[in-house]
Symmetry: C2
Subunit: 355 residues, 2 copies
């Protein structure tokens, strides 16, 4: 590393250690991006107010024990636009998203809630299409939607239909989260398909591509991995808002270690790569809704990879990088051209409302 | 009963037995009222799609057992307008509402989720005020907010801030729900304060009244009642959207029995009565956010009432009626003038977005 590089890393490190300060007076779309602004909002407002050990971990789900039962509990609201898109709709997205938040916590998803905020004038036929898609997604994931709520707001106070799902699961074995230098970093499949599909479905761009959202329930796939390398799974995260880049940053930052990924190893379908080039965005930041990042002990990498590839949702899984000692808290990308660059958290929100 | 009255009752009975049919093509505000239209929407769309025994009960929470732990799980979205009103705001409403849904199920509320849908441009200061109020409400109810989510939508696609809370509780003793003729029907306090407060806070009416929302956590109050008359509590419901009238209808309908209430016995504060008269609405249909309807065995009525009155949130509790054999499924009101009228489910929505 040159002295200049070291100075840059030091500056980044200092900035990251300082207490996040919210500079804005009002909410911007970036606060919903899953990137830097979202992190700052969570730290400065939500953690500040709700401060408790379970929330403060900011995991995909909160874990707690009730009368000896080891539970995981999670929630997500869905505001995706458009509501219907190639490969899915807001309904299966809402089911799969919550199923996946439980699954990456090492839990078997059991029961979901579904709460609808509907805009006056929303077609009942569309609502039926959405609930049918939720029914199928719940069936595929092996969960039941057991409780719900419906609110209606006046025309112009929503955008058709927003859905919240919360979920309860029973923890089989929660990955401990303690990354170690040498650990292997895997993704379960090609990245960015969901986000790019949504962008194209909005029709604002004159791009045609044969793309479908990757929305899918990951519970069986991830259970297969856990079964194939017992005790060796360090951490799992689904790469939704902010994409794989954001997940890797959170992994590195939480562990105080570095994650070094190999650009060439990251599976990206040509249609996604092409669309991203035209859009001027990096597929690493584009949301997936059926892909997870998994960190396993080095010696378990092959077993994990073959478990993934043995499942239809993991056919194109790949080892994309490795955990290293330093630079602490940072994600480095070894580019196809032999260079190395820092992959930082997203600033702003180039893709609002993708989930 | 005259022959005419019998014919009327028969007609109502027939209509209620028939499978609910959704006549509308689009969502209307009435679908969010908690009344007839909401029931039809739930039956014809949500139950139809998500069909499972836990959901089909349509209780305030779903109850299930995980590894021997007896759990309750519930969700509600909050779209109240205005966000801030005398006695509370959307924040404590969202916490108390979910706490109460667990409490009426005989559960001790443990953990809540909080998911925010924020409109671009929403003031951070208002968000802080809301989260502070959630913090205080969670503290008062003895629950933690352990997981959450934030989404942001463009200007004009929401109304400042919508909140979903889901909650998990551990069941102490779930009321069996089997009403019997002779059972006593109680309310825990004066009705309609929340709904009327919201209407007045909108400032569309030129009425001044010293009213505050009744939003409050009922878990301790209801636990006191359960402790005071063990085994005698048949059913508890919090009287939110659609008010006490809607709850009584659901009780009667579920049990296939009649509920006969005494208009004179229903506690209504003069300011609520006055505002309702001016607004042309019946306080029986106005939402409370800190009041429950409790059905107990006749011999336990006194014990339940004195337990309620011994708690600050139940000072003005009252026995308001009795469960009878017939007319099956109906609620009858004995009016102050010696007459009797049927209290039916609400049609339409005179008070949209009160929670």
């Amino acid at each position: 590393m040159t002295i200049r590089e070291e100075q840059v890393l030091e500056r980044i490190d200092r900035a990251r250690r300082s207490r996040p300060r919210l500079r804005e007076d009002t909410i911007t779309l970036a606060h919903g991006s899953g990137g830097k602004a979202t992190h700052t909002l969570i730290e400065a407002v939500f953690k500040e107010a709700f401060d408790n050990p379970l929330l403060n971990r900011l995991d995909d789900s909160a874990g707690f024990t009730v009368n000896g039962a080891d539970l995981a509990f999670t929630t997500d609201s869905y505001v995706v636009s458009p509501l219907f898109f190639p490969g899915g709709d807001i309904g299966d997205l809402a089911v799969n998203g919550t199923v996946n938040d439980l699954a990456v916590s090492g839990a078997r998803p059991l029961h979901l809630s579904a709460a609808f905020i509907l805009e006056e004038g929303f077609p009942i036929a569309d609502l039926r299409r959405i609930t049918e898609s939720m029914r199928l997604a719940a069936g595929a994931a092996g969960v039941d939607i057991v409780t719900g709520d419906t609110k209606v707001v006046q025309r112009g106070k929503a955008d058709g239909c927003y859905i919240n799902t919360a979920g309860v699961g029973v923890v089989r074995s929660r990955p401990p989260g303690d990354l170690r230098p040498g650990d292997a970093v895997l993704v379960t499949g090609p990245i960015g398909e969901h986000g790019v599909t949504i962008m194209l479905a909005r029709g604002e761009l004159d791009i045609e591509a044969d793309l479908r959202s990757d929305t899918a329930p990951l519970n069986c796939l991830l259970a297969d991995v856990a079964g194939a390398c017992p005790g060796a799974v360090r951490r799992m995260r689904d790469a939704t808002r902010g994409g794989v880049a954001t997940v890797l940053n959170e992994l590195a930052s939480d562990a105080g270690l570095a994650v070094v990924v190999d650009e060439d190893a990251i599976p990206v379908r040509p249609a996604v790569r092409g669309a991203c080039e035209l859009l001027g965005i990096d597929p690493m930041y584009v949301a997936c809704e059926g892909r997870a990042v998994i960190v396993v002990a080095a010696e378990a990498a092959d077993a994990a990879l073959s478990a993934l590839r043995g499942h239809p949702l993991g056919e194109d899984a790949a080892v994309i990088g490795q955990v290293k000692d330093d630079p602490s808290g940072l994600v480095l990308l070894k580019t196809a051209f032999g260079g190395t660059r820092i992959v930082d958290l997203l600033v702003g929100d180039p893709l609002p409302r993708i989930c």
